[in-house]
Symmetry: C2
Subunit: 288 residues, 2 copies
Amino acid sequence: MLGGSAVHFALAASFFTEVRVVGSVGDDFGSEPLELLASRGIATEDIEVVPGGETFSWSGHYEHDMNVAHTDDTRLNVFAEFTPKLSASSQEAQTLFLGNIQPDLQRDVRRQSSASFAALDSMNLWIETARDSLLTAISEVDCLLLNDAELRMLTREPNLVKAARTAIDLGPEIIVAKRGEYGAALFTEEVAFAIPGLPLENVSDPTGAGDSFAGGFLGYLDGVRIGDRPDQGALRRAMAYGSVMASFNVEDFGTERVRDLSEDEIAERLAAFKRLTHFDEVPVPTTG
Amino acid sequence: MLGGSAVHFALAASFFTEVRVVGSVGDDFGSEPLELLASRGIATEDIEVVPGGETFSWSGHYEHDMNVAHTDDTRLNVFAEFTPKLSASSQEAQTLFLGNIQPDLQRDVRRQSSASFAALDSMNLWIETARDSLLTAISEVDCLLLNDAELRMLTREPNLVKAARTAIDLGPEIIVAKRGEYGAALFTEEVAFAIPGLPLENVSDPTGAGDSFAGGFLGYLDGVRIGDRPDQGALRRAMAYGSVMASFNVEDFGTERVRDLSEDEIAERLAAFKRLTHFDEVPVPTTG
């Protein structure tokens, strides 16, 4: 079914700002997914359709508690020969998200973009097989998003706070550790911020949750025109929106839930999220 | 070194309320630990010293990221023959915490206690080897605290929200899922509440973190004399205090950090905890 980093990200971000997708598909992709993206106002002109090519595909399965994903099959197909080409409009976008792909391709896109704020996602595969290239790609962005286990693997540091600090030393000012059902944590030089996952009764398919998170997070930051240096308050709200979009993503298979969301549903869930985490601060009772 | 559920719990709870410990040790225990407990105002008269007996001991190791504990050795020693006897003062305590031990012993203590609010912790060992007895013990308390993996195992339900609901059907009105470095979640029939773990740079020893959490949680509820039915606000603050006490616990080996805490340190960390999780709610920006 329809999926992929770019699709999940774009759909989530489209609720907050204008989105342009850069990518490559085969002519097996069909017009329906492009129409779906366009129906959410997403510009698809930089999605290259390779004649006779087959679209990238991934299949996998999840363990019992859905916290661990296993890849059964990955077919690069058209991605094996992918050379990203950004149109003038895409080059001028203020915010850039480099979805999980071979890090040299991410660097190529970064070079073509004049974005004042760039974020990058990656995965264990590239940490293991293209480490040097990935480290360079990371040094060229402002924000790094990774699963917490991947952040530990990248930095070779088991403690998450130290891992985040090591990652900041690589270049980005903002590190986001995604934690699946446990939420996410954000680190800058000055602050740490953490949110739990929204407890969900219906978890059908975690695939794409990280990209939906990134879409809500960066879409919000871009939508409010935060500029090059998002302040703390904006980062915190962006994290909450990221979690909200990820929570919708997992409630149905593929893109089914997010594509038909309403802004009211997003606002309601943000309010639920705030209720979930809110507590009053009171003095410690003394035992005398 | 000194440890154990009762010790970690009692030390943490002693910052919020009066605590009485019921337990059994060998005469190898020595007077120093008893003096330590007494120095925190903890009543130790119900700690039975078995002449010629050896104190329960546990040894284990943690995986690289400290999220997974492995037991190397457990010696029941005096616990093998333990018959808890509560003094009149302990019987009259308003709040009862049944630390992790064989569930028939927990039931025995519950029967001797007139507490209006009782909570129980357990572990995978009893879920596997004494399931029926544990289910009965759980049905006799108001609050169940378990690791989230154990809660899933107990209820045979991989989804945490459904697991919590199933656990509520067993009897307790309040279910607390402890999640290690990821914080904790609380469920009642009406509400869910979740907090992330405080990101800590120094994690020396997670042993006892769950009991320190329980000590902060129940100690706070008892200290503010919440009565039989803690309201939502109290439960939320209690969760925050539980997390704060657990965060101190892991920063040093054994009981070293918690025993010498000041109330100012607790208040400071609660404030840090609130800053960590706080975000402002704002309307979703519309894309027009």
